[in-house]
Amino acid sequence: MSYQAANPLADEFEFELGGAWTAYWLAFLRVVTGWWFFHAGVTKLIEDGLAYTYGPAYLKQMTGTALGPIPVLMGEHLGWLIQAMVPLGETLIGLGLMVGALVRLASVFGVFFMALFWIGNASFGHGLVNSDFMGLLLFMTMIVLATGRYYGLDAVIEKTKLVKRHPKLRYLLG
């Protein structure tokens, strides 16, 4: 059996990283991840508008976690901002992922949200690697594989003159 150090996937059952199935699956995964956050955010917006009071209350109960006093301080001093940013942030992150625009930037915020959900949620009753942690890893996968480039608007945006003049924007797009 042949083995290529440069591409371990190259085999008689090759699954090309640049192939059609990879593009299809990464785009699918991105849209579903986006819907997950969009649904969570937009339903909060419908119910509570920009006054999602559970947001700061959730942060205030996060005592004794690996994040130290940060979430509690955020809940106590930035309550007004958290109330607005949770529903708005979730909605925008979800929208970004669904249409494939600014996917890496949106996913950074997704990782931030999921870190708070993972650390503060259910006391690891389902183990340390639970669904919250898998969600966090999904957002990291979006960043590493730049999934906005697969059937996403980032593929178009990255071809604009602005991005060509400022190629570093590709670290936020893609």
Binding site: A6, A66, L67, V108, A115, F124, G125, M140, Y171
Partner: protein
């Protein structure tokens, strides 16, 4: 496709991966070997009383994972501020027909 990794790339991969795997897998194995509870949550009886607590505080394990994520975040920031390498991302080669 040929990609070159620098010392910083490799250090970011090793440090972040090492921290995250230490928190999730290595200390998870230690937790199993230490006996019940096999997970990060305390074990309770039917009355809800805690009868066994994890040997390793989940705060430590989650802290290691968060540290790994922080390393990746810092690496991302570094990529944003560091100068980009010159030259095209891919090179084309002329192929002559027989």
């Amino acid at each position: 496709m040929q990609q070159h990794t620098t010392v910083i790339d490799k250090a970011a991969m090793a440090l972040s991966g090492g921290l995250m795997l230490l928190g999730v897998v290595v200390l998870g194995l230690v937790e199993i070997l230490a006996g019940k509870p096999y997970s990060a949550a305390p074990l309770t009886n039917d009355a809800g009383e805690i009868i066994a607590t994890p040997m390793i505080d989940p705060t430590l394990r989650t802290g290691l994972v968060l540290a790994g994520i922080l390393v990746l975040a810092l690496y991302g920031l570094y990529k944003l501020v560091a100068p980009m390498k010159e030259g095209p991302a891919t090179t084309q080669q002329d192929v002559t027909a027989d």
